[in-house]
Amino acid sequence: MEIVFENVDFIYQPNSPFSHQALKDISLTIKDGDYAAFIGHTGSGKSTLLQHLNGILRPTSGTVRIGDFELTTKKNNEIKSLRRKVGVVFQYPEHQLFEETVEKDILFGPKNFGMDVEEAKHNLPTILEEVGLPTDVLQRSPFELSGGQMRRVAIAGVLITEPNVLILDEPTAGLDPRGRKQIMSLIDSLHKKKRMTIILVTHHMEDVLRHANQAFVLNKGELVMQGEPVEVFQEEERLRKIGLGIPEELQLINQLKQTLGLPITYLHQSPSELGKDIAKALHAGGNR
């Protein structure tokens, strides 16, 4: 489903002393099957923007189009079917678990959306395998699990409704390096194998560079940059000014370019490939 924002403004508590404009004239397009990443400082409006994607918030002015759904200032009665198609994994999603067993919690969404619960039950083992949980957790209480496992249960609870668009708000926050890697590769496989449109909010610039094909930079409610991650990260100065950095790989390449004059371009090399490229360039000899 294609996602289009047209001149979207959002104001929290309009016409009150507490009114605060969180989004200013946002226009953007995320194509079907994209892997889009949103970056920005805390309070830049990322979370507010995400909440427009499944109708939790409605724009104060402007239009949001998600496939055939149109969200404007007016109330939309088909919000429930939109929410089924657009799955959201909020920050620390493990806080939303509440059922007695993992199975019941995962099936909570399908029940609410009026889906065939038996069929969803049938799909449980596949979903569990995808998120990397053993099937014997199904009958356990979600509160007996570790934090990382609870997060996987929460993600499974979103995936079971088979959304077309998956939104993840800092899905790796607070996880150990291994957990992070697993979650990121899970998202990758959902994007590639299931052709899901992925929208990721993250503070890890490395993840943006490695996984996303579109990057959007927000600052104080405005969309300041957009494009392919490699292009966006070219403008290091501008990013630094709004409190953001660039990925380690690009930092290293830039520094080598400046100090040794090594001509290396980033072409999605893995760290070891990048190492080999640097060695090759060093052998060829720098300009200085």
Binding site: G87, F108, F113
Partner: protein, 265 residues
């Protein structure tokens, strides 16, 4: 969440009312409330109102802010007024609406009760607008200290009070977050069958309780790690100070009370 609801919300300003000792304000509000309940004549109400208005002006909190913040209470005040108007059946008939007689005593009673309510809420709102929750609990603790000899856990009660006040905004935020997460999983808190809605509330309450318990555990651990052991040997970072300003305000209040009883007959 409705943030125009300002009862219990502190507005930082530099004003004589803010500078007063929290104990002074607490004691005055306490006696003001007592006195208000014995008010009967118009002039005694006028005196009470003047005192509250004087406090409101001196607090330098924007009057519109106070009026707007009291909005949810206006409803209750007006409702009380109307109820009294129709229920009281004493005195002479003043006029009638749709064949329903309104008595003069009813009008007076309605005015008295609703202005009583208004004054009470205005004063207590003024207290919370100008005093941080922390200093209110400190004041409660010091004022109730004599009860400690009766083995009442005053310090613990004050601590519970300040912790719960501190975590109200956190809980509101948490509620907002979880209800959004559950709404994304297709739950509907506003429409649907009564039973489904009850079930929906559970999906909100259970995670909320769990995180509150977790937070309490973390807080207890953090307090112990920093050497907390009740009020034994504990000193205060912010000490309450009784100044000449407090004395002046007390004197004014005593004069007001004397004037009040003089006019109250």
């Amino acid at each position: 969440m409705n943030q125009s609801f300002i009862i219990g919300q502190y507005v930082p300003k530099e004003s004589p009312v803010h500078a007063l000792d929290a104990r002074t304000k607490l004691v005055i509000v306490f006696f003001y409330v007592l006195v208000t309940f014995s008010a009967e004549t118009l002039s005694s109400y006028l005196i009470l109102f003047l005192f509250a208005a004087f406090g409101a002006v001196m607090s330098r909190v924007h009057p519109l802010f106070i009026v707007k913040g009291l909005r949810p209470i206006w409803f209750i005040i007006i409702l009380t007024f109307i109820l009294h108007l129709f229920i009281q059946r004493q005195g002479e008939v003043l006029f009638s609406i749709f064949g329903y007689a309104i008595y003069d005593q009813a009008v007076i009673q309605a005015a008295i009760i609703s202005s009583r309510l208004f004054l009470l809420i205005l004063m207590t709102t003024l207290l919370t607008l100008t005093t941080t929750p922390i200093s209110i609990t400190d004041a409660v603790e010091t004022l109730l200290k004599p009860l400690k000899s009766l083995k009442l856990p005053i310090h613990e009660l004050a601590l519970m009070m300040s912790i719960s006040l501190r975590f109200i905004p956190t809980l509101i935020e948490e509620t907002d977050k979880i209800s959004k997460a559950q709404a994304s999983r297709g739950i509907d808190f506003r429409t649907g069958k009564w039973r489904d809605r009850l079930k929906a509330i559970f999906a909100l309450l259970i995670p909320l309780f769990i995180s509150a318990f977790k937070r309490a555990e973390d807080l207890a651990m953090a307090m112990e790690a920093r050497g907390y052991r009740g009020d034994y040997g504990r000193t205060k970072f912010r000490e309450l100070k009784f100044t000449s300003l407090d004395l002046i305000v007390f004197l004014i209040f005593i004069i007001i009370v004397i004037g009040f009883f003089y006019f109250n007959g």
